[in-house]
Amino acid sequence: MRALRSSALKLSVGYIGLGLVALVLFAAPLWYAWRVTIEDSRTAIFQADAQRMAEIYQRQGPQALARFVSTRVGMQIPSERLLLFADPQLKPLAGNLGGWPAQVPTASGSYNLQLRLDGRLTEVSLVHLQLAGGYHLLVGRDSALYVPLERGFWYALLGAAVILSTFGALGGILIRRALLARIHLMRQTVSAIMLGDLTHRLPASPVGDELNTLSQTINGMLNQIEQLVHGVRNVSNAIAHDLRTPLAELRVRLEELSLMRPSPEHTFAEIEAAVSDVDRVISIFNALLRLAEIDSGTRRSGFVPVDLGKVATAAVDFYQPAGELKGVRLHLLRADCAPVRGDPLLLAQAISNLIDNALKYTPAGGSIAVSVQRRTDQRIEVCVADSGPGIAATDRKKVTERFYRGDASRGTPGVGLGLSLVDAVARLHGTTLELLDNRPGLRASMALGQDTRPTERPASAAPKPGELEHEPVYL
């Protein structure tokens, strides 16, 4: 039953059927031509022959015709042509038939009949001509002569059909075998992957046939799935660690309260601390949900033209007081008009995170330079460069991992998701976050492709002052 459902088999059965139909379509006109054209012209020849003999009869009388018929019969190869000349009583006068066949109707005309000739029943086509004076003339041909030819035709046709079916079936089986072998291999691989081993890949040679292309596509999908699963695993480990800590603190706090029953003032202070513990957990959750949202790529559908220069200006403006408070010089080095297509909210958050991160690590007296500029390759580069301790080259890959916190960050606030969010936003916009040595300090940058579409009104995370009250831009 499974073999019957195989697509290769269905395909070859279809092809065989199609071949047979083609064969029939080819044979039918031949058959028709045979049947109609040749038979008709044959009858016409008999009629002309009969007519000629009738003329001999008319001009020279029955004896002359009998002689003529006898000569004709004597000359020809036996049984090719039937000839009979009979008197009004249907008694044969000359010809190669033993007696007048009873089946022949008395009226003149051409007939196809079954006659017994030389002891065998055979198909005969005849022309019967009634001559003046009651004489009868029969001219005909034994069709049995053509039977072998006709049979040969049918045999050839049948043979062609058999060859067609055999080769079709054989081809189908071979194709099915080859296909099944490869599909079986693919199935085995996929089953192994479903069992949890994501390192397997489908065999795919660079030859670009359909199955290879399919394998390559599936491999690409597997790469992505592996990466995602890997990310999820890392994150769940990290969540377990980073969420448990505040939750454990919270639990201790609450348990202590319920056991110790301290003074109301102390109780309220503890409750407030508990609320901020919860807020911390919530903020981790929010950051994770946002990361998941970005990773899913759904935000890409909401891309609009954004002026990165304006976004960076607004972010620097927002963090300025924090810089002043810490004694760090935060300045906007350059803000070209930089049209890109993207998510204004996420880009604003990414730049904010970069500045926030720089502010966290740059000591008092240091400086942070933010710039947005069009590079010579027409890509638009956002860069936040600080004069802090920087990140060791070996750690640079790790800092974008979720919940990774470098040694320098121990004891500073934050959940260790800032740079992974920037990285995720960069990837969503088709680029990567690059971390370089600023000698000294960290130089974080991402280069976005320019928005080449004819611009609508660029949306910016920072609308002109006073604009918002009347026209809220909900991001």
Binding site: N286, L289, E293, L325, Q349, D356, G466, L468, L475
Partner: protein
Amino acid sequence: MKVLFVEDNERVTQFVLKGLAESGHRADHASNGRDAMSLAASELYDAIVLDRMLPGDIDGLAIIEALRKAGQRTPILILSALSDVDERIRGLRAGGDDYLTKPFAFGELLARLDALTRRAEGQSVQTRLELGDLRMDLLTRKVTRGERDIALQPREFKLLEYLMRHANQVVTRTMLLEHVWDYHFDPQTNLIDVHISKLRQKIDADFDRPLLRTVRNAGYTLTSQE
């Protein structure tokens, strides 16, 4: 004000109803979509607070759409555990006026309700804002307090403008982030406090009576009252 609170979680309901009563507001409660519709049709409310996830898998958005279709114009605040920005946009498109993500602080809810109901009281196009001796001219962008001119940065001007438009109301940090900076995300810093203290330096430092006050556990308020 009189509020219709639509929510099926009992604990949250008790917490909010008690808080509203303590702040001197009246509130009705509906725990499902049908009750919400009939209450909204028979009573006159200043605002409706509606949870998105209601019993029987009813999306609160469907109720908002039905209410709006029936000509109901009461301001609606949507409560939701869904924080995606897209969800927020969907909520506002369906006819909601504001969107608050669960879990929320009661102060945040109250401040937003306050802002919603006052906005509904009608806002004509103003060119001057005044609060006590603090004056703001929106056309010349000049700010004065008493006889003295106060020079403000554009962003400070915007911050003060928002506070003045919501004078005598509590304004939360999130509301300021969303409306002054248009940042619909949590930058995880106390920067708003820093901005406020800079503004306070400029408008309150040399005067006897401070206008810009901090409201504990909630946010800020700009008021000339005692």
